[in-house]
Subunit: 161 residues, 2 copies
């Protein structure tokens, strides 16, 4: 089975797929009389025509590595941000699009304190915490359409550490 | 000095001020072939005229109890959600409005796994983690106006546990 080695998550490596949200480098603003750093407006949100922003909570059962991935999905009408609500390891799988199908997948291991925002229409694996509690806030499109496309791979792949 | 005792955060007690976001009770939807519970669209977001949703990260230095509070603020043009990115204790201070000024303050201690969304215009204290890393994702209004009103109290109060 094809093997995809998980890479550390960095803004540069993830740029083709979305935003890495992290309190890194200089804050854009220091607020609350010096007590708080604000890293301002770090996600390219896009809720498409007729959509609006919503916050949902996802609680997923943890998986483990090596992790076999047989399906990728995408949301054609909106971006989707995942904010971990605990400092647990998790896995992010994405793939570039090639003629309406996912091409070579990539896998990333976020560091503690990193969140992501998948840009509209980016192929990705389902939410994959690697430990409890598997709890995330998800900022995505609320709208009246299904807004999901699933692609079952001819050949599943396995993500390794 | 006036003393305000911090209460456990519950959706019912917090309802006059905003939403409690938590993976409690039955999920609205089970997704990802049974692996993930979705608690759907749990925040009453409101970004006012000319505003849009943004995700920022706030990293605040921790405070401790008893905590003296001398200032409350509000955002007249938008809601503001705080999602803790670690399972640390934190404090939420809010107050009802009375003729344009904050009236009797309340203080809440969220449980692990709880986030909040302050409704537009609700008086609140600054972000108050009670331990490191003090890291939060903040979903609030991005716009061209200051969108903040500060009220310095004639008589500060102290929050106790």
């Amino acid at each position: 089975m094809r093997e995809v080695r998980a890479e550390p998550l960095t803004a540069a490596a993830f740029a083709p797929f979305g935003d890495v949200l992290e309190a890194a480098g200089h804050p854009d603003k220091v607020i609350n009389a010096g007590w708080c750093d604000r890293f301002h407006d770090r996600a390219r949100l896009d809720f498409g025509p007729g959509g609006r922003a919503g916050i949902s909570l996802f609680r997923a059962r943890p998986r483990s590595l090596p992790y076999e991935c047989a399906m990728l999905e995408r949301h054609p009408e909106g971006s989707q941000a995942f904010v971990p609500m605990a400092q647990m390891p998790w896995l992010v799988i994405v793939a570039p699009d090639e003629s309406g199908r996912p091409a070579a997948p990539r896998a990333f291991l976020p560091a503690e304190g990193q969140a992501i925002n998948l840009h509209r229409g980016v192929w990705h694996g389902v939410l994959t915490p690697l430990a409890d509690p598997g709890l995330f806030a998800v900022i995505d499109r609320i709208g009246g359409t299904p807004n999901i496309e699933e692609h079952f791979l001819d050949a599943p792949f396995v993500v390794t550490s």
